[in-house]
């Protein structure tokens, strides 16, 4: 039932990604200051924004899980955070490449957004060992939801604290409504952002479909008295 609509969604994602990348390479102008390397912006920033929203969405699913005690929401929350953590690895790698190319170092501490992102990533990276350490399935789901809610509240607070800690204030790309990005760059950025958001939704849906399918296989094997296929994950929730 999770697989429904997966095919059109995948096609839309591929089209959007292709359109986004074409715009990045053939339409958007080279940055006057940074040149070609600035184009990584169209990959790095949408990835970061989508993954941060994904973390918050994971927290909202966690609230729904605690309120309804429906284990389906725990699976949604887990998969949202899981895909966002994977996006997070990509954010840190692309950010690092951008920093090396434009500032000459693989890591810079005076870019508050990147530092905040690292701290958020470090917190969500502990989500897996946290789940793994709790054996009872129901307790694991409940505690994971509490973790997701706490971490969701942590995200904006952390950005505030790191921003305040900066003595140097960097120019923000979107700081002013009028004088930020020129139109062609803004269009490319918005298409890239849409493509990344679609990619996130598709991956979440795909993961849920896969979990649901393996859950069904497991139940069928049990019904047939067959031995379970392969080891069972102690971290990921089961989807019925």
């Amino acid at each position: 039932m999770y697989g429904k609509g997966l095919k059109p969604l995948s096609i839309a994602t591929v089209v959007a990604l292709a359109a986004g990348l074409s715009l990045v390479f053939f339409y958007a102008p080279n940055d006057a200051d940074q040149g070609f390397i600035q184009k990584i912006f169209y990959l790095h920033v949408p990835l970061a924004m989508v993954s941060l929203v994904g973390f918050i969405v994971g927290g909202i699913f966690a609230i729904l899980h605690l309120r309804s005690e429906d284990s389906r929401w725990d699976a949604y929350s887990y998969v949202s955070i899981h895909i966002s953590v994977i996006f997070g690895v990509a954010v840190l790698i692309t950010g690092s490449i951008w920093a090396k190319a434009s500032w000459g170092h693989w890591w810079v501490w005076d870019e508050p957004t990147l530092v905040s992102y690292l701290i958020v990533f470090l917190l969500y990276a502990t989500y897996y060992p946290f789940r793994y350490a709790i054996e009872d399935r129901q307790r694991q789901a409940r505690y994971a939801s509490v973790f997701a809610i706490t971490a969701g509240a942590f995200v904006p607070l952390n950005f505030l604290a790191v921003r305040l800690a900066e003595s140097l204030v960097h120019p923000r790309v979107f700081a002013t409504t009028g004088g930020g990005l020129p139109g062609s760059m803004m269009l490319t950025f918005l298409v890239s952002l849409t493509a990344m958001a679609l990619l996130w939704v598709t991956l979440v849906k795909l993961e849920l479909t896969a979990k649901s399918a393996s859950g069904q296989v497991k139940r069928l094997r049990r019904a047939l008295d067959a031995p379970p296929a392969g080891p069972r994950s102690r971290v990921a929730p089961e989807v019925s």
Binding site: I119, A133, E135, R142, Y143, T150, A153, L164
Partner: protein, 226 residues
Amino acid sequence: MTPTSIAFRAILEKDLRTELRTLQSLPAMALFAVTTFVIFRFGLDRTQLSGSLASGVLWATLLFAALLGVNRLFVAERQEGGFDAIRLAPIDRTALFAAKAAALIVYLAILEAIVVPVFAIFFLDSAAAIPPLAAVLLLTDVGLAATGTLIASMAVHSRARDLLGPLVLLPLVVPLMIAATGASRHLLEAGGPAYERFGTWLAVLGLYDLIFLLVGYAVFDFLLED
């Protein structure tokens, strides 16, 4: 007196009395902190500290000493059936959260009352920074207690209790430490305390405390269900 506030007082009194009789946590925390100062003296090769170096040493030490207390916070409840007793009693479960957080604040305040003067004797020129520092210490203690109690109550039910608590808690208190070190840095300057952005940092500390006390209050019920 409502039943919840009676339960709150009873649990808090029980915790403080147990600590007074067994001395399980506090002496270990204080010893740990003082020894860490000695290690910093040689690691940094400094006999005097000021400014950001002083606040960094102080807060890193206090944070890791606090983790020792956080780890032990719910061990007795888990081992002696305290959680079951709370579930059986006709009281609001958040009384347990509030009482444990309050106990942790008391532990941290006592720890700081011992350790901060030692820090001043070891590394500082004058004790002029101590009175304003007390406000920073108190607000940070509240934040540490809110997140620490929440995480410890979950970690105690896991297979890797001693590992899991610090693992999750450390990234969670990074904003708290940013604000605490930011506020203390100028207080500990060599020429006497300065109050640059002091109010801003206190506001961030207060906001952190408020948010995580509310989160703890909202979710703690779900941690005791079984």
